[in-house]
C-alpha cells in the first residue's frame, strides 16, 4: 500500500510539471508583456524595454525554449520568477495562497459534508416533499453560473444589511484592517461566510445528487435489512451501514468536484474582492503577466492532483475491498 501511494505521489509530481510547463508555454506564446511598456508616455527606448524584460525573463525576443529553461530552472529551486513589473511572484503568491486555501478548504469541507447529508436525507425520504425540495433546489443551483449566484448573494446581503440598519454579514473583502485581536478574528470569520456559501452551494448541490443516487442503491440492499434484522434501530442501520457504504462512491467524485470548485473560486474571489489566487489569475491575464499565470496554473494543478490523491486515500480508508489488493 505504502509503495503504491509513493508511486502515485511521484506520478503526480510529474503531472504537475507537465501541466505547469504547458501553461507556461501557452502564456509565453500568447501574452505580450512588452505592450505594457510600449504604450508609455513618454516612450521608453526599446533597449531599455529589452533590458527590463530580460531581467524579468519576459523578453519575447529570447527564444521560447530558452525562456522556458530559465523559468523551469527557477521553479525547480523554488523561484517562480518576476511579475511583469518586477515584483516577486513568490512574495505575491505567499500572500495570496493562504487566502485561497482558506476559502477552498472551508468550501470543500462544507460542500462535502452538507451535500452528503442532504443527499442521504433525500434518499431516505424518497418522493416525499423534502426530497423534492432538495432536488429542485440543487438543480436550480447547478443551472446558475457561479458569478451570477455570487452577485445575487452579494446583492441580497447588501439589501438585508440595509434593511437591518447594520452590517450583519460582510459582503466584500477579507477583513477589516482597523480591528485587532479577537474582533479581527471574528471579523475574518464574518467575511468568510458569504464567499463560502457562494462557493459551496454548487458543491452541495452536486454532492447531494450523487449521494442520493448512491444511497438509493444501497438502501434496497440486503445488508441494510440484515442490520435491522439483528435489532439495530432504523436510524442506526441507515447511518452506520447504509450511509457508511454509500460514502465510498461519493469519495471517488471528490477530485472531480474539486476541479469545479476551483473554477468557482476564481469568480467568487473576484466578486467578493478577495485577493486570492483566482482573482490574481484574472488580473495577471489582463496584465499579460506570464510568470504569474504559470504560477497560478501550477497551483491549480497541484490542488487538483492533491484532491485526486486525497480522494484515493479516502476511498482506501473507507473501502476494505480496495485496501487488500
Amino acid at each position: 500500500m505504502g509503495k503504491y501511494l509513493l508511486r502515485r505521489l511521484a506520478m503526480n509530481v510529474i503531472l504537475i510539471a507537465v501541466a505547469a510547463s504547458l501553461a507556461y508555454m501557452l502564456a509565453a506564446t500568447t501574452m505580450n508583456p512588452r505592450a505594457a511598456y510600449q504604450g508609455r508616455r513618454p516612450p521608453v527606448p526599446e533597449t531599455v524595454i529589452d533590458a527590463t524584460l530580460d531581467t524579468y525573463n519576459l523578453n519575447d525576443k529570447t527564444p521560447l525554449l530558452q525562456r522556458y529553461t530559465t523559468w523551469a530552472a527557477g521553479v525547480a529551486t523554488g523561484d517562480f520568477g518576476r511579475t511583469w513589473n518586477g515584483g516577486s511572484v513568490n512574495d505575491e503568491m505567499g500572500r495570496r495562497i493562504g487566502v485561497s486555501l482558506r476559502l477552498l478548504f472551508v468550501g470543500t469541507l462544507v460542500g462535502f459534508a452538507l451535500g452528503v447529508a442532504l443527499g442521504a436525507l433525500s434518499a431516505v425520504k424518497q418522493y416525499r416533499p423534502s426530497d423534492r425540495v432538495i432536488g429542485v433546489a440543487s438543480f436550480t443551483i447547478m443551472a446558475i453560473p457561479v458569478f451570477v449566484l455570487a452577485t445575487l448573494l452579494a446583492v441580497a446581503t447588501y439589501s438585508m444589511n440595509r434593511a437591518l440598519g447594520f452590517t450583519l454579514i460582510e459582503y466584500t473583502g477579507e477583513y477589516n484592517p482597523r480591528l485587532t485581536g479577537w474582533d479581527q478574528w471574528l471579523n475574518r470569520l464574518n467575511h468568510l461566510v458569504l464567499p463560502t456559501i457562494s462557493l459551496s452551494l454548487g458543491a452541495i448541490a452536486f454532492y447531494s445528487r450523487i449521494q442520493r443516487n448512491m444511497m438509493l442503491d444501497v438502501l434496497n440492499q440486503d445488508f441494510v435489512r440484515t442490520a435491522m434484522a439483528k435489532g439495530l434501530p432504523r436510524r442506526t442501520a441507515l447511518v452506520k451501514h447504509a450511509l457508511r457504504t454509500a460514502l465510498i462512491p461519493s469519495a471517488t467524485y471528490f477530485a472531480f468536484a474539486f476541479g469545479t470548485l476551483l473554477t468557482g473560486a476564481t469568480f467568487t474571489e473576484k466578486i467578493f474582492a478577495w485577493h486570492g489566487m483566482g482573482a490574481w489569475l484574472i488580473d495577471s491575464i489582463n496584465q499579460n503577466d506570464v510568470n504569474a499565470v504559470a504560477a497560478v496554473s501550477l497551483f491549480a494543478a497541484a490542488c487538483v492532483l492533491a484532491a485526486a490523491f486525497l480522494s484515493d486515500l479516502l476511498v482506501a480508508a473507507l473501502d476494505p475491498r480496495v485496501r487488500v489488493s
Binding site: T226, M228, K230, D319
Partner: protein, 693 residues
C-alpha cells in the same frame, strides 16, 4: 407451547396488490416448520412481515404473537428489542447480507452488543466463539476478515453465527442454501441443525426445494398465490398429499433416485397477485377442476391428523388415494430413432481431446503484472455421439462454463482439440466456421438476459435466420413457435409479456432456427420454478427425439441431469473426475467426489432423507490458480483421509486420469473414474419402485 403464532396475516403493497392473503401458522420450541412455494407465492413476504421488515408502504394486518405478545402494530423500538434477540433471520444471499465495509467479527459483535450489555472485548470474544461453533477454521483470524474474503458457504455459516448470537427462540431461514453448491449446502444444513441443537430454537424454513424441507422439517406449509393451500406433518404431506397443487409439485420434481421418462408438468403459470381468478387460485392449472371450484375460494379446512387442506375435492383424493401421477396427464414423448443404433456405430458430433484453457492471474490496478495462472480447464476429454445427451456437471469454479465457452468459440484452443461434427476447430476457415456455427447453437440460463426486450419475439427468432441469409423467414418463425409449444400469434409480442418458462421456450426456438445438430444447453432450467421446469425438460427431451439432436448439457442440478442425460461427466477443478452412462454413475459412483456430490443432494422423501448418511466434504474447493499436486481432490477427499501412508503417496505424487472401470458391466459398459483407488459404492438409497423390480 408455541413460540410464534401467526393468524390471518395479510400484506398489501401500495397499489392494492395483496401479496399475502391470510396466512396462519404456529411454531413450537425445537420444531421446524417448512414453508414451500414457488416465486411469488408470498412465502418470503410472510416472514418479512413477521419481522416487521417490509418496506414502509406495505400494509400488514392480522396478528403475529411471540410468546403471546402481539407484534403487529407495535412501536418500532419494541420491535428492535425483539429482532435479533427473540427472532433471528437468515437470508438467502450471504454476499449481500453482510455490510462490505466492516469485518465479519465486528458485525457479529455488533449483534451481540445490541441486545446484551457487554464490553467491546467481550463481544468480540463471543463473536469468535460463535464462528468456532459454526465450524469456521481459525475463527480468531477469520473474525478480522471482511465479507468479500469469505467464500459463499463460509459467509452463510457466519450468518448463522450472527443469527444465534443472542440465543433466539425462533430462527427464520429464508432460502438459506439456495445460492450455494450442493456439497456446501449439505455442510450448511448440518450447521443449521447444530445451531438448533445449541439454542433449542424453533425454525421456520422457507424454500422452494422440497428435498431440503423433507430432511429438515417436522411440519410443512405449502403456499400458492399468497395463501396456504395445504399444511400438515411432513410425512403425511409428502406421502399422501391431498391438494392437486401439492400433488403436482411432488410429482414434477426430477429426482436423483428417480426413474427416467417424462416428468409431470403443471400446465400454465402461477396467477399474478394483481389478477387472481375468482374461485380457487389454482383452478386454471388444476387437472381436477370442477365447476364449483370457480365459485369461491375454498378455505383452508382441518381434515384431521393435524392436516389442513384448501381444496373442494380433498376427501375424494383421500378416498381414492390419488397421487400426482394419477391426476396429471403424463405427456407422451416419442422415442428417439438414434438410440436403437449402438453407440459405437453412431457418428460423433463433438469430441474434445485434452482441452486446456489457462488464464493469467493479474494483480495491481495501474501496473498489471502476472502473479499466477488459473487452471480453469486442464486436460478435458469426452465425446458425444449422435442423438445423445452428455451432461457436464460440477460445482461453481469447476471449469464447466469455460469448457463450454471454448467449444462455442470454434477457435483453436490453447492446447488439445475440439472437433465439432468431424471438423477440427483449429483448422477452420472463416466461411466454414460460419457454416459450423449454424450447426452448433446455444440456449442460455437466463432467458430474459438473452433476449432483446425491444424486439418482438418473431424478430428475436428470425435474427439468426436473417444473419445466415435465409428466406421465407415468417413461415419458419411460425413453425418454430409451434415446435416449442407456443402459438404463431406470439411472434408479435415482446419478451416481457411472457413468463419465465415461455421465455425459455423462445430461447430454444431461436436456437433451433438454423436446424442445428448439436445444441449446447447452459443451465437451461435452473432459473425456473419446479412446476415450469418439468415442462421445459420434457420439451427438450421431445425435441431431441423428434429432430435427432444431440445435447451438451451444462448443469449443477444432478437431479435434472439424471432425467435428461444419457451420459454424465463430473468435473472438479478443471478436470473430469468421473464419466459414464447416467445409470452407472448415479447408481454406482466410483470417484469419492461423485460419491460426496450425490450423497449431498437432498431427496424429496422424508423417511429416506432422514435415514441417509451423508458423505460430508471438508472446507471449500481449492482455488484453480493453485491446484493441489497429484490428485486435485486429495485436500478434501474422504477416502484419502482413510488411506495408509504408502497409498497416500500415490495420490500426492501422481495425477490420476480417467480409467475405464473393470467391472463396468450392464447394457452400456461405459464408466470411468479418475481415482487411483476407485471403488463403486451406492450412495443414493434405491427408491421403492426400483426395489420392487
Amino acid at each position: 407451547m408455541s413460540i410464534l403464532q401467526v393468524r390471518d396475516l395479510t400484506v398489501t403493497f401500495p397499489g392494492g396488490v395483496q401479496a399475502v392473503r391470510g396466512v396462519s401458522y404456529e411454531v413450537s420450541r425445537g420444531e421446524v416448520l417448512g414453508i414451500v412455494g414457488e416465486s411469488g407465492s408470498g412465502k418470503s413476504v410472510t416472514s418479512l412481515a413477521v419481522m416487521g421488515l417490509l418496506p414502509p408502504g406495505a400494509v400488514v394486518s392480522g396478528s403475529v404473537t411471540l410468546h403471546g405478545r402481539e407484534l403487529i402494530g407495535v412501536q418500532e423500538d419494541e420491535l428492535t428489542r425483539v429482532r435479533g434477540k427473540s427472532i433471528s433471520m437468515i437470508f438467502q444471499d450471504p454476499l449481500s447480507a453482510f455490510t462490505p465495509v466492516y469485518t465479519i467479527g465486528a458485525q457479529i459483535a455488533e449483534a451481540v452488543r445490541v441486545h446484551q450489555k457487554t464490553g467491546k472485548d467481550k463481544a468480540a470474544k463471543r463473536a469468535v466463539e460463535l464462528l468456532d461453533l459454526v465450524g469456521i477454521p481459525h475463527p480468531d483470524a477469520r473474525a478480522r476478515a471482511f465479507p468479500h474474503e469469505f467464500s459463499g458457504g463460509m459467509r452463510q455459516r457466519a450468518m448463522i453465527a450472527m443469527a444465534i448470537a443472542n440465543d433466539p427462540d425462533l430462527l427464520i431461514c429464508d432460502e438459506p442454501t439456495t445460492a450455494l453448491d450442493v456439497t456446501i449446502q449439505a455442510q450448511v444444513l448440518e450447521v443449521l441443525k447444530t445451531a438448533q441443537r445449541e439454542t433449542g430454537a424453533g425454525i421456520v424454513m422457507i424454500t422452494h426445494d422440497l428435498g431440503v424441507i423433507a430432511g429438515m422439517a417436522d411440519r410443512v406449509l405449502v403456499m400458492y398465490a399468497g395463501r396456504p393451500v395445504e399444511q400438515g406433518p411432513v410425512d403425511e404431506l409428502y406421502y399422501r398429499p391431498r391438494m392437486p397443487y401439492t400433488m403436482g409439485l411432488l410429482a414434477s420434481i426430477p429426482r436423483v433416485d428417480g426413474a427416467e421418462g417424462p416428468l409431470v408438468p403443471i400446465e400454465g403459470n402461477p396467477p399474478s397477485p394483481a389478477a387472481l381468478p375468482p374461485g380457487c387460485p389454482f383452478a386454471p392449472r388444476c387437472p381436477m377442476r370442477i365447476d364449483v371450484c370457480d365459485e369461491e375460494e375454498p378455505p383452508l379446512t382441518a381434515v384431521g391428523g393435524g392436516r389442513h387442506v384448501a381444496c373442494v375435492r380433498s376427501r375424494e383424493i383421500e378416498h381414492k388415494a390419488l397421487t400426482g401421477a394419477d391426476v396429471y396427464p403424463l405427456p407422451v414423448i416419442p422415442p428417439s430413432g438414434a438410440v436403437r443404433v449402438p453407440r459405437e456405430r453412431r457418428a460423433t458430433v463433438l469430441e474434445l481431446t485434452d482441452l486446456v484453457r489457462h488464464y493469467p492471474l493479474m494483480k495491481g490496478a495501474v501496473f498489471k503484472r502476472r502473479v499466477g495462472t488459473v487452471h480453469a480447464v486442464d486436460g478435458v476429454s469426452f465425446d458425444i455421439a449422435e442423438g445423445e445427451t452428455l451432461a457436464l456437471v460440477g460445482e461453481s469454479g469447476c471449469g464447466k462454463t469455460t469448457t463450454l465457452q471454448q467449444i462455442m468459440r470454434l477457435e483453436p484452443p490453447q492446447s488439445g482439440h475440439v472437433v465439432v461434427l468431424g471438423q477440427d476447430s483449429a483448422r477452420l476457415g472463416k466461411a466454414e466456421r460460419k457454416a459450423l456455427r449454424g450447426d452448433l447453437q446455444i440456449v442460455f440460463q437466463d432467458p430474459m438476459a438473452a433476449l432483446d426486450p425491444r424486439m418482438p419475439v418473431g424478430d428475436v427468432i428470425a435474427e439468426p435466420l436473417r444473419a445466415h441469409g435465409r428466406r421465407n423467414v415468417a413461415a419458419r418463425v411460425a413453425e418454430l413457435l409451434e415446435l416449442v409449444g407456443l402459438s404463431p400469434e406470439h411472434a408479435e409480442r415482446y419478451p416481457q409479456q411472457f413468463s419465465g418458462g415461455q421465455r425459455q421456450r423462445i430461447g430454444i426456438a431461436r436456437a433451433l432456427a438454423l436446424e442445428p445438430r448439436l445444441l449446447v444447453l447452459d443451465e437451461p432450467v435452473s432459473a425456473l420454478d419446479v412446476s415450469i421446469q418439468a415442462g421445459i425438460i420434457n420439451l427438450l427431451e421431445e425435441l431431441k427425439n423428434t429432430l435427432g439432436l444431440s445435447y451438451l448439457f451444462v448443469a449443477h442440478d444432478l437431479a435434472v441431469v439424471r432425467h435428461l442425460a444419457d451420459r454424465v461427466a463430473v468435473m472438479y477443478l478443471g478436470r473430469i473426475a468421473e464419466i459414464g452412462a447416467v445409470e452407472n454413475v448415479y447408481d454406482r459412483p466410483a470417484h469419492p467426489y461423485t460419491q460426496a456430490l450425490l450423497s449431498a443432494i437432498p431427496l424429496p422423501d422424508p423417511e429416506r432423507e432422514r435415514a441417509r448418511r451423508r458423505i460430508l466434504l471438508q472446507g471449500d474447493p481449492p482455488s484453480p490458480a493453485d491446484p493441489p499436486s497429484g490428485c486435485r481432490f486429495r485436500t478434501r477427499c474422504p477416502k484419502f483421509a482413510r488411506l495408509g501412508e504408502a497409498e497416500r503417496r500415490r495420490c500426492v505424487n501422481e495425477e490420476p486420469s480417467v480409467v475405464r472401470l473393470a467391472n463396468a458391466t450392464g447394457e452400456r459398459p461405459d464408466h470411468g473414474a479418475a481415482c487411483h483407488y476407485a471403488e463403486e459404492i451406492e450412495v443414493i438409497p434405491a427408491s421403492d419402485d426400483q426395489e420392487e423390480k
